[in-house]
Symmetry: C2
Subunit: 499 residues, 2 copies
Amino acid sequence: MSATGLLKLRPNVVKSFFRTYKASGIPELTQVRHNVKRGNYATLEGKDIAFFESIVGKNHLVQDDLQGYNVDFMRSVRGSSQLVLRPSSTQEVSAILKYCNERKLAVCPQGGNTGLVGGSVPVCDEIVLSLARLDKILHIDEITGIAACEAGCILENLDLKARELGLVVPLDLGAKSSCHIGGNVSTNAGGLRVLRYGNLHGSVLGVEAVLANGDVLDLMSDFKKDNTGYHLKHLFIGSEGTLGVVTKVSMLCAPQSQAQHVAFLGLSSFDDVLKTFRDSRQFLGEILSSCELIDANSLDASVNHFKLNSPIEGYPFYMLIETSGSNAEHDMEKFNRFLENGMEKGQIIDGTITGEVGKMQEIWKLRELVPVALIEDGFCFKYDISLPLREFYHIVEVMQERVGNLATRVCGYGHLGDSNLHLNICCQEFTQEIYKCIEPFVYEYTSQVKGSISAEHGIGFLKKNYLKYSKSPAAISKMRELKQLLDPNSILNPYKVLN
Amino acid sequence: MSATGLLKLRPNVVKSFFRTYKASGIPELTQVRHNVKRGNYATLEGKDIAFFESIVGKNHLVQDDLQGYNVDFMRSVRGSSQLVLRPSSTQEVSAILKYCNERKLAVCPQGGNTGLVGGSVPVCDEIVLSLARLDKILHIDEITGIAACEAGCILENLDLKARELGLVVPLDLGAKSSCHIGGNVSTNAGGLRVLRYGNLHGSVLGVEAVLANGDVLDLMSDFKKDNTGYHLKHLFIGSEGTLGVVTKVSMLCAPQSQAQHVAFLGLSSFDDVLKTFRDSRQFLGEILSSCELIDANSLDASVNHFKLNSPIEGYPFYMLIETSGSNAEHDMEKFNRFLENGMEKGQIIDGTITGEVGKMQEIWKLRELVPVALIEDGFCFKYDISLPLREFYHIVEVMQERVGNLATRVCGYGHLGDSNLHLNICCQEFTQEIYKCIEPFVYEYTSQVKGSISAEHGIGFLKKNYLKYSKSPAAISKMRELKQLLDPNSILNPYKVLN
C-alpha cells in the first residue's frame, strides 16, 4: 500500500466530520457560556486599516465574509473578528506585529484552522493573521531527509513533495489535506505515527518565529545536532501561537517505507490487549508503525453508522496494528510470527492481516470513522487524554458506571501505542445533568493517575480552565512569566492556554 | 553482538584518553588564558558551611582533595572551588540553591564531569553541587518502555537495568560508564545512536528541575504525548545547568534489538561516501543504527598508535555502517543487497561485514580509538561541527591547504549520518602560529555554510566566545533574557554558555 492511497480518503472524512458536527447541536458560542470578557485592547480604527493595507495590499486585507476565519472546525467557538490579514512574507508578518504591539491590537494567528480546542479562531474581535500565503516549500534534501518550508505550507503538499524523493514527513493527521505545518508545529500535533517517528520536538530541526514586538527570531537549522546555547525553538513548539508566530520550519523526514501491512485483531480482555502491545514491540520492533485500540462500542458506531463490514466481530476489544518496512517479505514473516505467538498464547482470538491497499483502507476506515460516527448519536463529550497503560481502559468502565442511562454510549479508542485514549460519552442531547456527572470528574481522575488532560489536541481556548489538572502552580506561574517576557502586551492569541 | 559487550571496552578507552591528554601539554589553566574576571559573588563564610552541613550532613560536605571536582575530563579548565556539596534529594538541592541565591553564592552543578567544553567544573571558586548521590532508578515500564531516574544515575546503570527488561536507553556515549543522566540531559548529549533514536528533546518525556531560587519545577511525565501548555522541560535540555539543576528525568526506552551487524567499507571518493549513505537509508531503512565516516588519516592514527589491524586498507575513505534489527537473517539479507548494490555501482570498492561480537568490537575500535590516537601526535585542535553533507569533507581539505606543514595531520571523522564532523588538526605542540591559522577561520567557515560550531559537545566555558558564529544577536539576546528570568542573580554555572 502507498500511504498516500490511504490518505486520499481523509479529506472526505474531514468534510463529513464537519457536517455532522454542525448538526449535532453543540452550542456554537462557547465564549458566551464561558463569560469571556474582552481584554483591554485597542479598537480597530481607520488609520489601522490604512497601515495594514500598505503592508499586505488591498487584496489581502479581508473585511467581508469572515465566517470561515471566525468559526473553528468543531464549530465550538465563534469569534467576531472584523479583519483578516494575509501577509506573504516574514517581513510582512513582522511589520504587522510590530504595529499591533505598539497599538495594543490583539492578534489571532491562524493556519489551516483544523484545531480541536478553539485555539485557531478569534474569541472576541482579534485581528486574524492568516499564514496561508506563506506556503512555499524551501528545500528538501534527498540524502539527509531535511526539509524546510514556510509555515503556511499544507502538510500534505510537503509530504507529496517528500515522497517524490523517497521520503516521508514524520507526521500524519486526519486533517493532513488542510492543516499547515506552522499550525502543526505551534500545536505540537500528534496523530497516527507518533509511535514510529516520535513527536515534533524530536523531528523539528529549526523554526523562524516572529515575536510580538515584530522581532524575527531566526532559529532555522538544517542539522540534527546543534548544541549552541539554549534550544529556543522548543518555546514555539506547542505554545499555540501565544509566544510568537512561526513563519518557517525545518524538519527531518524519514525514508519512505517500501511495504505496509495492517492486521485487525479481536481480543477478549484488556489484559490481552496490553500483552499483545508488548509483544508487538518485541516481534515487530523497528517495523511497527501504528498500534490502535478500538473497543466494541466504538467499532459498533462506525460499522453501523457507515454500513461498513468488519472482518471480525463479537469481541470486546479490537486492535489495529500496522507495520511499515523496507522489505515486504521480511515484514510479513515477522508479522506472522507475532500473530502465531499471540494466538498460541490465547491473547489474540481472531484476526485478519493484509498488505493490499484496498483492504488496508477498509480496515483503517473502521478506526478512522469512529470519531465521526460517535457524533451521530446526538451529542458527544470528547476527551483526549494520556493515561498509564495499566489504567488506560479503566476510566471507560468507571465512566460507564457513573453516567449509566444518561448516556447512549460510553466508549474508548485511540493510540494505545502512545498511551493516548480518546474517551467518548454520547447522549441524545447536551444536558447539565450528564455534563456535571462527567466534568470535572474526568479531569480529576486523569490528574490522580498523573495522566495528561490533553494528549495531543492542546489547551487552546476550550481547555484553559482545566490546565491546573496537568500542570503544577509552579509550572503555570513559570508559563505566565515566559508569556510576560515574550509578549508583554499579551497581543498574541489572547484568551488561549493561560487564563 | 550485545551492545553491552561492545561498551565494555569503553571505560579503558576513557581512562587512556585522560592519561594521554594529560601528557599532551595542553595548558591546564584555560581561564587564565581567557582572562576570566571573578563575578561579583559573595565569598564563602563560616556561617555558610554551618548551614550547608545542616542540610547535607558532615560527610557530604567536602572541603579537601577537590582536584577531581575542580579539573575537567580534558584538563582544559581548572577551577578553585573550596567546597563540594553532595545532596541526596531534590529537597536538599532546593534548600542549597535557595540559600545560595539569597547569599549570592555561585554554584557549579556537576554530574559525571565527562563534558568536553569545560561546562562541568568551576571556573573560579563556585561551590560544586555534585548530583552523584541522586542515583536512584525510579521505575522502568516493560510495556511502554518508559523509564524514570534521578539525575545522578549513571547512564550505563540505567541501560543495564533497561536491558534486563528487553529495552535499551536511546543514548550511547563513550563516557557511558561514568556520565550521569542529568548531565546528559543538561547538555543534550549526542553520541553514537542519534541516527537511530534521535536527540534527547525527542526521547526525554519529563524532567524535574530546581531553579536558582530553590523552587522545584516538577515537569515529570510518563507520557509520550502531553500537550498541556508550554513545553518547559526543553528549557533544561541543553542549557548546561545555567537555567536550573535537573534532579529527575523520565525518558522513552526503545525495544532492544535482537541482532546487530557491522560493515567496514573502503571508498575512493567523498562523492561515493555520500551516495553510499543515501543508499544505506534506502536499503537498510529501519534497521540502520550507525553510519560513521573515517578518513585515511584518521584510520592511520588509530591503526598505528594502537597496533590495530584494519580488515581493509589503502582507501581515502572508510565507512562503518551498523544495523540493529529484530531478525538476524532478515537484517543480513538487507545488508547483503545494500553491499551488492554499492559494489555493482562501483561506489564501494572493498569491505567486510560481520555479526560476530568479537569482530564487531574490533571494527568499532578502529573508529572509537581515533580521537585518542590523534592526541598522540603531540597537541591536537579538535572541532565538533555540523555541516551540510555536500560541504562535509571540504573543510578538511581546505584546512590541509591552510595549515600546510604546520600540522602533522589534518583529518576528519565522525557521525556522517548526523552531519556531524569531528575535524582534528594535529601538531607537535601548540603554537600561536598554527592557532591563528585555524581560529577563528574554522568558525567563520562553519558559520558561512550555516553549520553549527558545536554539534554535540555544547558551549560550556570553552566555546562561549564563539557562540555568535551559530546564534544571531536576536537569539543571544533572548537567551540572556531567559537567563535573567530564571536566574536573576546569575548564580547557576556562571562563566558558561553566555558571556
